[in-house]
């Protein structure tokens, strides 16, 4: 019961991550939609709204882009402040930019009668207020989803099939090879510790990989020679942050659909590398068209996709592909470093 209670813990409201492309896009779209609305309200007809919009845009875009740039740069100091102070800082920043724009606009564009500074400040303050309110509501709306995601993670991971077969394998070792039985039970303990933990926070890639290794060691116990692994981790950023239990369920799928149905087993390739600001994770496993246990696979993929979206918005991707007799999952996430510990 304790674990269920934790789901209702309040997640403190925070400023959005201004370095996230999804957040930036949302700001751009909302502000421009507001500009369109303002232009249409001000004009007599839709046709005269167009020059009005152009004029408005000339004033709005520099402030908007300047603010986005400034917020991008100031993202980490801002995110460390308490929420209220952060909001205040964003507001002041925009007021400052508006004033600057007002000051230079006269010289740059030769506007005849610049609108009064007070009016501009009022308008930009309203815009900032509405955007902050929007992101506040959005994060509140999504926060149960994060708790939900944890629950979903619980459901999607570890097939009972794996648990009982592994217990069976350990039991078979107790008499003949107690040392290996010990290691196997330790691996299981570690695995289940992670499975039962609060999995809302991002974890270093290295931790997730350690978990995968323990999981695969248990599968190896059962499947022996049938399970061959091929790791390509030379260009892996160990400190990259990823949502927990993204790779492990994918490997579990690979074993269940790609190794177990085959008499001679097969090879699972795990390739993780960094390319500029992105971390790529590519898994391949043997595939046969007539495998008919695809529902479990789809559920796990849907779950992982959802959690990636919650953490990285539009910046993460999950692609699957069947090429010949290979099944391939390719995940791309933005490269975020774990704080040095």
């Amino acid at each position: 019961m304790a674990s269920i209670k934790q789901n209702h813990l309040r997640i403190p409201v925070a400023l959005p991550d201004f370095r996230n492309m999804g957040v930036q896009l949302r700001i751009l779209v909302i502000v421009n939609l507001m500009a369109v609305l303002a232009a249409v309200v001000r004009a007599d007809s839709l046709i005269t709204a167009w020059p009005a919009l152009l004029q408005l845009s000339a004033a709005v875009q520099p402030i908007l882009l300047g603010a986005l740039l400034a917020l991008f740069i100031l993202n980490s100091p801002l995110s460390r402040r308490p929420y209220r102070q952060g909001c205040l800082a964003v507001w002041l920043l925009v007021l400052l930019l508006t004033a600057g724009m007002q000051h230079f606009a006269g010289d740059l564009f030769g506007m005849d009668a610049p609108p009064s500074l007070g009016r501009s400040w009022f308008l930009s303050s309203m815009t900032v207020g509405m955007l902050l309110l929007y992101f506040n509501l959005r994060s509140r709306a999504l926060s149960p989803a994060i708790a939900e995601a944890r629950l979903q993670a619980l459901q999607a991971r570890i097939r009972p099939h794996f648990l009982f077969n592994s217990l069976n394998a350990v039991l078979s070792l107790i008499r003949s090879d107690p040392k290996r039985a010990e290691t196997a039970l330790e691996d299981m303990a570690d695995l289940f510790r992670v499975l039962m933990a609060d999995n809302r926070q991002l974890v270093p890639l290295q931790n997730e990989l350690e978990l995968c290794r323990q999981y695969l060691a248990l599968e190896k116990l059962r499947l022996g020679e049938r399970l061959a692994l091929n790791w390509h981790l030379d260009n892996m950023p160990q400190d990259a942050l990823i949502p927990p239990l993204v790779l492990q369920p994918l490997l579990e799928n690979a074993v269940y659909h790609g190794i177990e149905p085959f008499l001679d087993g097969g090879e699972i390739n795990i390739n993780i590398y960094r390319s500029r600001d992105q971390v790529h994770m590519v898994l391949t496993n043997p595939y046969r068209l007539e495998g008919d246990h695809h529902n479990g696979n789809k559920m796990a993929l849907g779950n992982i996709r959802e959690r990636l979206a919650l953490h990285f918005d539009a910046e993460a991707q999950l692609m699957t592909k069947v090429a010949g007799n290979q099944y391939r999952v390719h995940i791309v996430i933005p490269y975020r470093q774990a704080a040095a510990s």
């Binding site: 099939h161 009982f164 069976n168 078979s172």
Partner: protein
């Protein structure tokens, strides 16, 4: 029967699972391990050869799963008693309970195993009928020939034709006779086989094309050309739409 040891065949694809069963059986008096099978196919051939009293049969195995093995074994004159074993399969367990089919849950306990062996008996036709609904489409057809079981991989079958009481199953090499209904096979493999005629199903992948042919009575009809065989299969008037669908 009581003074003779119970002959048991173990079928499981995982080595540790087989080891565990061997350890448990070693402690149950009156049992003898006749052999161990690593696959469904081996389970069938070894049952055929060793004629065990009891088959301990894992459900999830590569290629031919346990449920399909059980079905093929019904072709034997005296099929062995079957005890299914599964780590986790909610559907199967429910069906086993409902139909009083013997089963064990992994990890298996020694006393449960001993109990199951004591009362194990061959599957009844009604039980088998219920289990058939659990399994996916078969991977093999089985044919009883001179008391032995022949397995024909479904993906090697070119066509099936109904003749009186039997079905002729044609592969590139030869023909087999099985006692099944064409309609049931059509329902079991809707993707693989297509109905050409009231008495004939052909594998979609085995059809090379279609051709107009003149029948003996001067009647013109379509026939299907096959990739691996010279003979052609007539397409009935009612099924002519498949000529268009398969790009004849």
């Amino acid at each position: 029967m009581s003074d003779q040891a119970l002959n048991i065949l173990i079928a499981d694809d995982e080595t540790p699972a087989r080891n565990r069963l061997r350890e448990l059986l070693a402690e149950i008096p009156g049992t003898h391990i006749a052999g161990e099978a690593r696959t469904g196919r081996e389970a069938i051939t070894l049952t055929d050869k060793l004629r065990p009293d009891v088959l301990l049969l894992d459900i999830r195995m590569p290629e031919i799963d346990g449920l399909e093995v059980a079905e093929h074994l019904q072709k034997l004159d005296r099929p062995p008693a079957i005890i299914f074993a599964t780590a986790y399969d909610a559907h199967a367990v429910q069906a086993f309970e409902l139909n009083a089919v013997d089963y064990l849950l992994k990890p298996i306990r020694a006393e449960r195993l001993a109990n199951a062996l004591k009362k194990a008996r061959a599957l009844l036709p009604a039980q088998m009928e219920e289990l058939r609904q659990l399994r996916a489409a078969r991977s093999h057809f089985s044919i009883s020939e001179r008391g032995r079981i022949l397995l024909v991989p479904v993906d090697q079958v070119i066509y099936l034709r109904a003749e009186l009481k039997y079905l002729t199953v044609r592969t590139a090499e030869r023909e087999y006779l099985i006692e099944e209904s064409l309609t049931q096979i059509e329902q079991e493999f809707p993707e693989r086989f297509v109905r050409l005629h009231r008495n004939c199903l052909a594998a979609r992948g085995a059809i090379r094309g279609f051709e107009r042919a003149h029948g003996a009575d001067g009647d013109v009809h379509w026939v299907a050309l096959l990739k691996e065989l010279q003979e052609t299969l007539p397409v009935s008037r009612r099924q002519q739409h498949i000529v268009r669908e398969l790009g004849g």
